[in-house]
Amino acid sequence: MRILCCLDGTNAEQIGRVGEMLSATQPLTLGLLHVIDSRPRKDIDLIRERFLRAPLHPPHRPPPGPPPHHAPPPAPPPHHIREEEMSEAERASAQEILNEGRRYFAAAEALEREGRPELEIVNLAAEWRADLVVVCSRAAYQKRREIGPKSVGHVARFVLDHAPCPVLLLRPLARELFPIER
């Protein structure tokens, strides 16, 4: 069984416990996925545009020809240095999150993507041929609404609606909130 576990930086332990439970019943192939959310970067570019500045994500243009060997490379403008710093911080953070997941599943395949998390999860689930996607209802740095209409965040909700395979939604324990008024 191929299980794709979605790590958001706060849920490695929760997913680890579930993985242990599932692996007790049958052999598993596990994939650990972390998506670097690209939306904040796009927002920063929009702000830069308002101030008539070039985006931090310059559109990719292929070089017109081979670079001349004798000319020294031009010094990058300050906003390109910032761009590198931002990418570096994102990559370091993603690696750290994936390593936390590997503590529970040493043999798991680490998968890193960049984009809108909800889209990347469902697309990768299809591409990786996942039999099950494991996702948490919300990132845990947020005070959770354990039950109720806002208890499932927009990423988990999108995955539930669009996943190409069964989805296991991990919710926090909330027995003390029951019974719900009938």
């Binding site: 930086g9 959310d37 939306r39 904040p40 796009k42 927002d43 920063i44 929009l46 702000i47 830069r48 545009e49 308002r50 101030f51 008539l52 500045r53 931090l56 010094a75 403008p77 300050p78 906003h79 910032r82 761009e83 710093e85 931002m86 911080a89 994102e90 370091a92 953070s93 750290e96 999150i97 809108r116 889209l119 990132a139 740095y141 947020q142 005070k143």
Partner: protein
């Protein structure tokens, strides 16, 4: 072309207004993603070609506003060179260290740091330099990124009327309608404090759930590590320590602020060259040169409209709407400037209002000062409503979203719609009480 024909004044006025309207519509909608500077300069070029403004008059208009151009240059260079010294990185790390591992306190510190940077370096520095620094910081600290980015973006404008130099828009208006420093501070400092307070309060309320956690202080690098060259860093701090009071003194003495900004930038550049921290070419890359074309184009377009008497009519309309009272002047000035700035961007709106304000010079002092202060207030704070651009941009984003196209920026609009009208009203009310 019209140089060869004698055109009646009515047709001249009609043509000038048409070109100006098309230019503003172009800036609003940005067809083919054209740069605003290209559109503004295109409009000015058409007016010159048609002979609706003489080259001498256009040149005189640009020379008259030398202080604005020079201030933009000095301000951008000063920020870019201070960035080269890693001053903002250092400040960001200090803000995180003083937060004591609390996500909420870091959020507050980002607001305070943004206020300080906007006050002394203008809103550009906060929005363009502090935002990516905070992004890197919170990514490393594994905190939710969005609230902190919003804090940087909004505080850039909310704190941009603490001092005349806090927003280049203030310079555009003050160059033509000078206010004594004490009058500026009397009318705008306290409203600014009120607005910043409201901004912080509402954001804390909005993001209270996401900001309840802590972060691991060990993830922070030491402030010393952020500094790539200690001598240049110290030198930058010394220069800025001189520039800050020089700004205040120049404002008090009605001395051109652009001279102070450029002098500060020249001193920093000398240090950067001496310690080999940046070449002239590298320093120039930190400046948005297209902004000069944008402003120059708008100055010429608005000057042409001014000649038609339209701006005088607009001034009279504003006076009538204000009912001849101080309260009316503040409210109408704020609402008009804020609305206009969201329609056509704040630079064209400020240039246009400059001309409109010139036509109400016969109004009583209180009303005149009220309109000037309210215009700066509305043009500075108004962009927070549609942070990512004009209303046209937001409408376009909404259409895209409707078509299920991935868009960013709408979250800013949702927050802006909640917080900005409240800040505008509270700030305007405070201003009226102080007038």
């Amino acid at each position: 072309m019209l140089w060869f024909f004698h055109l009646p004044e009515f047709w001249k006025a009609l043509l000038s207004s048409l070109v100006a309207l098309l230019t503003l519509a172009g800036i609003m909608t940005r067809p083919f993603r054209w740069n605003e500077a290209r559109i503004a300069m295109g409009g000015a070029g058409v007016l010159l070609l048609l002979g609706l403004i003489s080259p001498a008059d256009a040149l005189f208009t640009l020379i008259r506003d030398w202080n604005t151009f020079l201030f933009f240059l000095g301000m951008m260079a000063l920020s870019a060179l201070a960035e080269t010294a890693n001053l903002f990185d250092w400040l960001g790390i200090q803000a995180a260290r003083f937060a004591g591992e609390s996500a909420t306190r870091l959020f507050l510190n980002v607001f305070l740091l943004g206020t300080l940077i906007s006050m002394l370096f203008s809103n550009d520095a906060t929005a363009l330099i502090l935002t990516p620094i905070v992004y890197v910081l919170v990514t490393k600290l594994r905190l939710p990124v969005l609230p902190y980015l919003f804090a940087c973006t909004f505080i850039a404008d909310s704190a941009s009327f603490l001092l005349p130099i806090s927003n280049p828009i203030n310079i555009i208006i003050l160059s033509r309608h000078p206010l004594a420093l004490l009058t500026f501070l009397r009318l705008l400092f306290l409203p600014s404090v009120v607005v910043v307070g409201i901004n912080i309060g509402i954001f804390l309320l909005l993001y209270r759930e996401r900001l309840q956690g802590t972060f691991d202080g060990a993830r922070l690098s030491s402030p010393e590590k952020a500094i790539k060259h200690k001598a240049y860093f110290r030198y930058t701090c010394c220069v800025l320590t001189l520039v800050a009071p020089a700004y205040v003194a120049a404002s008090a003495l009605q001395f051109p602020l652009s001279v102070v900004a450029v002098a500060g930038a020249v001193l920093l550049l000398a240090g950067a060259l001496h310690w080999n921290r940046a070449s002239l070419l590298e320093a120039s890359k930190g400046i948005s040169w297209s902004i000069f074309g944008f402003i120059a184009g708008m100055f010429i377009v608005v000057r042409t409209v001014e000649q038609t008497g339209l701006t005088t009519k607009l001034g009279n309309l504003l006076l009538r709407l204000s009912g001849g009272t101080n309260f009316g002047a503040i409210m109408v000035g704020t609402a008009g400037a804020a609305l206009g700035t969201n329609l056509i961007n704040n630079v064209p709106m400020a240039v246009l209002m400059n001309s409109v304000l010139a036509s109400i010079h016969n109004a009583p002092l209180g009303i005149r000062q009220g309109f000037i202060a309210a215009t700066m207030f509305g043009c500075d704070l108004g962009p927070n409503l549609t942070t990512v651009g004009s209303l046209a941009t937001v409408l376009w984003l909404l259409i895209l979203r409707h078509r299920n196209v991935d868009v960013s920026g709408l979250d800013y609009f949702k927050v802006g719609v909640i917080v900005t009208p409240l800040m505008l009203f509270a700030g305007a009310l405070t201003m009226w009480l102080l007038l």
